[in-house]
């Protein structure tokens, strides 16, 4: 009986946190410049319900499209609150996550009932003679937004003065990512200046 009660309590306890309300498909491309790793070019597609709600929030002229002013308003609503979540771009460098420096190239569009956001999350990590190793995960560890990343579609843009290698794999065994869902994958990257 005691075993039964513990099992029941544990079952209830494990259901106590995490709760997706918004669904999003994501792609992440890695952008390098001559100096090193510039950032992550994000491509987000939200579910129809959330998309419609957000469009309605900013579409002042009610034309069902987003002009530059409305796009700015949308950026203000969506991105600043998720700065503390690294814009869902968790980039590990050594034993720490890197805080993004800024967001650039933000654009938004509304296609087939879905809100699409494109933006660059800048990290600006310089390259050196030695390899710098990074690990990127695109996820919301609080599970409020269920992000489905397709990292196998990720593209790398790098100049010829850099030597860049990468692969996509599970995050299992990565201590820094212990708080993340074990179901997700990450992009393992290493880069250096061409000797």
């Amino acid at each position: 009986m005691i075993r039964c009660s513990f099992a029941f309590l544990l079952l209830s306890a494990t259901l106590a946190l995490a709760h997706p309300h918004i669904f999003m498909d994501a792609e992440a491309n890695l952008v390098f410049n001559e100096k090193g790793f510039e950032g992550v070019q994000n491509h987000w597609v939200f579910d129809e319900l959330y998309s419609k709600a957000m469009l309605e929030s900013v579409d002042k002229d009610k034309d069902g499209k987003l002009n530059s002013e409305e796009t700015k308003a949308l950026q203000k609503i969506i991105l600043p609150p998720i700065f503390k979540f690294s814009y869902y771009n968790y980039l590990a460098l050594g034993s720490k996550f890197v805080t993004p420096s800024q967001i650039t190239n933000f654009t938004a569009s509304f296609e087939q009932g879905k809100l699409i956001l494109l933006f660059l999350t800048r990290f600006d990590i310089p390259a050196s003679k030695n390899y710098t190793m990074l690990l990127l995960a695109v996820t919301d560890p609080t599970n409020y937004i269920q992000i489905t990343p397709d990292l196998n579609k990720s593209k790398i843009n790098a100049p010829s003065n850099l030597d860049v290698e990468y692969f996509v794999d599970s995050l299992k065994g990565m201590t820094l990512f212990d708080g993340f869902s074990s179901q997700i994958q990450g992009i393992y990257i290493r880069f250096r200046k061409v000797p």
Partner: protein, 314 residues
């Protein structure tokens, strides 16, 4: 000829631009081209570090959870599709729309913040009857659903344009208040258990730790008052498509679906408590201690869940 040369140059430049990007697992062995072994140390780069807040646990790491979430995603797409159909005058799809809403509610309530844990904790702390389990499970989810509907309708009336961001802000405030009240409820249940233990005669069979309607209503209110964002989004989507009736019907059916899940947890907790009572009856003079102990654990459980939920909002 000119074009061929130009094309060749372009292709050469493209190849150069990406020549050093390789998709492969890292090879840490030295290659013949390298005079020294490939360095595996990371460069020293000074960058600001980020703290990670995570809500993942044993359940959210499971394949079952992944399937549950994927199914909800599909159901949400189907709901959006059905609302579009209704918007276009295909009212023969109402029953399908409502059926999808019911299944969505049923599955959605398996996620956190729908009161299952509190229901379970309460019926461990208090002996309940099935009708009380039914009322608590159903009332929590109906309050949870209709607090979202009411808040959304009010905001829609006041400021249609910015309704969802405002809803989110309001919800976060209500959520914190609700979780604080759950902590207080847990403390009250613990205090009542201790008080009953201290004041009751220490004979066998004198323990009175039954559920009361007053407590049930309080628990239902403090747990259910957090408006459900999932319901709010569906209601809002219906409103934006000019379907206020469908917004209400959909919310009601989602609420019923969520209630079924919560009631099942209530019944399971009532059965568990009855089983524990039967078990401790054989403990003779220690039976009363055991009964108070179980009630104390139930109260602690409710309080601990309140703390965990509140922590999650910080």
């Amino acid at each position: 000829m000119k074009h061929s040369v130009l094309l060749f140059c372009l292709l050469f430049l493209c190849t150069c631009a990406t020549a050093d990007v390789v998709q492969k697992h890292f090879d840490f062995k030295a290659t013949p081209a390298q005079e020294t072994p490939l360095p595996t140390v990371t460069s020293v780069v000074v960058v600001p570090a980020l703290q990670v807040k995570s809500n993942n646990n044993l359940f959210t790491n499971s394949v079952l959870w992944a399937k549950l979430v994927d199914t909800q995603k599909i159901l949400r797409e189907k709901i959006a599709h059905q609302v579009d159909n209704l918007h276009n005058g295909h009212f023969e799809t109402i029953s399908l729309f409502l059926l999808i809403c019911f299944i969505y509610g049923l599955l959605h309530a398996l996620g956190p913040g729908h009161g299952k844990t509190i229901v379970a904790g309460y019926f461990l702390a208090r002996r309940g009857r099935f009708r009380e389990g039914f009322v608590l499970g159903a009332s929590i989810t109906l309050i949870h659903t209709f607090s979202a509907v009411i808040l959304l309708f009010v905001l829609y009336g006041l400021a249609r344009a910015t309704v969802f961001p405002t809803f989110e802000l309001s919800r976060v405030g209500i959520e914190k208040a609700s979780y604080l009240l759950i902590i207080i409820t847990g403390i009250l249940l613990i205090a009542i258990s201790i008080k009953s233990f201290l004041s009751a005669p220490k004979k066998e069979g004198t323990v009175n730790l039954n559920a009361s309607w007053k407590e049930l209503l309080w628990v239902a209110f403090v747990t259910g008052i957090v408006p459900c964002p999932a319901v709010a989004l569906i209601v809002f989507f219906c409103l934006l498509n000019g379907l206020p009736g469908m917004a209400l019907a959909g919310a009601l059916v989602i609420g019923i679906g969520m209630a079924v899940t919560n009631i099942a947890f209530g019944f399971a907790a009532i059965l568990l408590r009855r089983g524990l009572d039967t078990g401790v009856f054989h403990l003779g003079r220690f039976a009363n201690f055991a009964n108070y102990g179980i009630s104390l654990v139930g109260g602690l459980f409710v309080g601990a869940m309140g703390v965990l939920l509140y922590w999650g909002t910080l």
